[in-house]
């Protein structure tokens, strides 16, 4: 018998998603981003070597540009997926979706605001993320800042 045996399975379509699901989705996204960043930096470094760009800028190395490349990739990844699809690969796997409070899709500007909100949530020891557990509407600080919410998207579910 598991700890969850007492919890009846309910159809929670379009209800705000909880902390555990969102955390798992975030970890999956992080893994994808880490792999993606490593590949991208390796690719850029290979291009620099191939075209001998280091002859023009002898001090240019991956140590200098990798933080910017990583930040750019992270930003592009989240903003692209949020605005275009409404979910990142991690959220898709967990059957979650990001929408505005009225249920409409995010714009690029709102995605950018939400991305800035990530840092606001992360700086005070990730309190903005942990806030999901205590918030009655399961909203994080970045959700509140961007006027968004993460919901369970049952249309992505495979089992009825």
């Amino acid at each position: 018998m598991t700890a969850m045996d007492g919890v009846p399975p309910t159809d929670q379509s379009d209800l705000p998603a909880g902390f555990v699901s969102r955390l798992e989705a975030f970890i999956i996204d992080l893994i994808i981003l880490v792999v993606g960043s490593v590949v991208a930096i390796w690719l850029i470094e290979s291009i620099i070597r191939f075209f001998a760009i280091y002859l023009l800028w002898p001090n240019l190395s991956s140590v200098q540009f990798s933080p910017f490349v990583s930040l750019l990739i992270i930003m592009a990844y989240f903003m692209y997926f949020w605005a275009l699809l409404g979910y990142t690969p991690g959220k898709l796997l967990l059957g979650l979706k990001i929408v505005r409070r009225d249920g409409s899709k995010l714009t690029l500007g709102r995605s950018f605001l939400r991305f800035i909100g990530y840092w606001v949530s992360a700086v005070p020891l990730f309190l903005g993320f942990i806030w999901i557990i205590f918030d009655r509407k399961r909203l994080s600080w970045h959700d509140r800042l961007a006027g968004t919410q993460v919901i369970y998207d049952r249309s992505k579910r495979l089992r009825n």
């Binding site: 209800l15 998603a17 909880g18 902390f19 509407k137 399961r138 495979l158």
Partner: protein
């Protein structure tokens, strides 16, 4: 008994005749060597009886010793050949067995790959398994969400969130 399977070319006939010859040659060779062995054994016993006064004499002893030495060397060489043959045959058998297994496995894979029903079934099973796995993770995560909030609410003495 004659076996005929469709049109056979003269090249095929030649191949079959060579195979047949090899099979028959083994039996014929075995019989011939067996007869030769028996004949030489009889000849040896007759000759040894005939030359017994000479071979058992004192003058013959150095010749006998040399012969024994050569025979020992020859026996050692033959023994080494037997060992090599035994080892090589085992290795060849293992190799042949491995190739036969690989051939069978490849044939089975080819057969399965050629059958669209089997291919679809395998594909369906794989997709179904992955879907089940993802759904299980989603369901468990949703349950954990509720469980965690229940605990927090109980701790804070609050009503259910959503």
């Amino acid at each position: 008994m004659e076996i005929s399977l469709g049109a056979e070319t003269s090249a095929l006939h030649l191949r079959y005749s060579l195979i047949g010859f090899l099979f028959q040659a083994i039996d014929t060779g075995h019989n011939t060597f067996s007869s030769l062995g028996k004949a030489s054994s009889r000849a040896y016993s007759s000759l040894s009886r005939m030359f017994a006064p000479l071979t058992k004499s004192r003058f013959w002893r150095p010749v006998q010793n040399n012969f024994d030495n050569y025979a020992a060397v020859g026996e050692a060489i033959v023994n080494s050949w037997i060992n090599i043959g035994r080892r090589e045959e085992l290795a060849s058998r293992a190799l042949a067995r491995q190739q036969a297994y690989e051939g069978i496995i490849n044939d089975i894979i080819d057969y399965l790959a050629d059958k669209p029903e089997v291919r679809d079934l395998v594909q369906q099973q794989s997709v179904g398994l992955a879907e089940e796995f993802v759904e299980e993770i989603r369901d468990r995560s949703t349950e954990f969400d509720s469980l965690l909030e229940e605990r927090v609410n109980r701790l804070l003495g609050r009503q259910k969130n959503v």
